[in-house]
Symmetry: C2
Subunit: 136 residues, 2 copies
Amino acid sequence: MDQLRETLKVHHLRTTTCREDVLSTFINRKNALSHGDLEGELGENYDRVTIYRTLKTFLEKGIIHKVLDDEGLRYALCSHSCSEEKHQHDHIHFKCSSCGETNCLENLHIPAVQLPEGYHPEHFNLLIQGVCPKCN
Amino acid sequence: MDQLRETLKVHHLRTTTCREDVLSTFINRKNALSHGDLEGELGENYDRVTIYRTLKTFLEKGIIHKVLDDEGLRYALCSHSCSEEKHQHDHIHFKCSSCGETNCLENLHIPAVQLPEGYHPEHFNLLIQGVCPKCN
DNA sequence: TCGGACTTGCAACGGGGTTGCAGAATATTT
DNA sequence: AAATATTCTGCAACCCCGTTGCAAGTCCGA
């Protein structure tokens, strides 16, 4: 519990029950979550708008990152210490077509790509869809 | 012009002016288009719903494919002959943070990735964000 | 050119996401 | 411990995305 407050403090955020609950939801469920997921879990306690704003704040502060998905945006915890200034991710995301879960494969880096002359890459986002070990 | 009708015919679609216009828009503008882009271009001639349905039909028939984007879905022409049965893409998408355009890099294939035991990959989607040659 | 099959437009709806504002909660200072 | 400044929350309202049902219109093959 103190862990949550500590994380918020590091990122210069006030500790509120909503932020603690959203953060702990990300920590407990390990997979990437959509706003809808969070609303399903916490919607009775907090307004939808508050959850949207909490996500936006966490994004800006480097606590979570976006996960692209063919059916909408999701969010997942940043593993290492991202911050407001530096928000770098190069790991792979895997979405299971059976259970629908999307997960970060933290250990797998996106392979380097040789782009044609003139392209200046900044961010990479690789989504692999298929069947995960659990559903195999 | 006959080219358009031909393409539609190959995919077993009736030729209608809306489908011809949507298809030729994709051919003229080379980049990936959102529904909003098409509505901006053709919205005075056709209902939004019709454009949505045209996109959906083109998707199913293998004329266009989805392009993931951090701010919404886009669509781009399938280069080779995709069909209703086989709809395979393994090229890279590049989104320019300056001009906002998203393009297929048809010649660049997504590098192979060695996934851990138990994962069965089916589809790959790599979006690279950065600055494109035009905006350089 | 006729008829069945497909396509379109309209109306309506649900969900996703944002903004403005007033009131509540938090952190800070004394 | 109380007062203050700052930040956060809830509510209402709004716009955009995408879908569905239905009636009218269009296409294409016989």
